[in-house]
Point group: C2
Chain length 224, copies 2
Amino acid sequence: MTPLAVVCVSGGMDSCLTAAIAAGEHRLAFLHANYGQRTEAKELECFRLLAEHFRAERTLVVDFSHLRAIGGSSLTDPAVPVREGPPVPGVIPTSYVPFRNAHLLSAAASWGEALGARAIFVGAVWEDSSGYPDCRPEFYRAFEKAIHAGTRPETDLRIVTPVISLTKAEIVRQGRQLAAPFEKTWSCYQAEAEACGACESCLLRLKGFAEAGAEDPIRYRKRL
Amino acid sequence: MTPLAVVCVSGGMDSCLTAAIAAGEHRLAFLHANYGQRTEAKELECFRLLAEHFRAERTLVVDFSHLRAIGGSSLTDPAVPVREGPPVPGVIPTSYVPFRNAHLLSAAASWGEALGARAIFVGAVWEDSSGYPDCRPEFYRAFEKAIHAGTRPETDLRIVTPVISLTKAEIVRQGRQLAAPFEKTWSCYQAEAEACGACESCLLRLKGFAEAGAEDPIRYRKRL
């Protein structure tokens, strides 16, 4: 029987390509986290569209509203402004939510253990990313060891991060090869009807499409 | 300045002694998780009493209701019965919540990073415990490495498990030496006004007090 994989799907481009890769060899259980981020309504809409597109057998939306209580990020705390402009090397951006991906992996591992899944797919990007410490490859390797140490002996969950060393341009190119539905994704850190085109995340996305020589299928309020 | 520690306080004896140990050298931030367990009302009451007793500077109650959606445990799924009788060596009990302690440590690490804490105290017990895989010492060592790999470079959070190798009798004895307020704790897996005296957790607790030659200050419906 085809093995089951838990795929963490934020609703952005990176998790869209990750889902397309996982779909090649797995049945799919799609996991989405709501952590009080500004853009949750948009992200959840994209999650639902992607789950339908990839025919996920199961979906689970987990509520991490405690991350809002913990704060410390422009994504969860309205008092912290969204920074505009490109990422600054060596500077962790204001949008970093302290240790957020550990919460996501914990939910993926608990659900994966309960379902008997064999893998957790996460669309973390490190090389060409915003510099969040919980996107580093060594974090995923360390967390995989924690899963092995802290679950039943028969539980065997790998963490797979297939896009972690790709640039945004490579994500665009590989996504187009796999017919990943980028029109059903959302990247912007602002919560408007159209993507702002100015925040760090929009700039990274637009640069990726430009470098890949492709047209981004979503709409923008403005393009710098 | 005295360093700050996040202390995970369930409201049971083990976390009560852990808090008493942490209080010796730290300012305290008390963290409690509600994960839809049968006994949450009792546990939360004890958490509040312990926070007051130990003069915690901060308290945070996080809601892990997604653990109920994930299920797979008699603590979170009413369809799974609470097993009576002593633990069976080598058998993971029905009360095991898949990878639960990873969720707790993730919240402790996120909060600890936001607060600038230096340590996370957890009252996990392995030697004389129920055999949950997420109580094993190697799980805590592995998770500490994941915290170092996945947080800001300046974040320096140790995981301290001061009671992990103690028997329940040793916990009773050491708690009495430190004047730990065991009368403000709850261990029973049933949610009644008085502890049932028959579930695995009650039996472990009562055996601990008996072996320590001490009287348990809480009330029981029956004692086997």
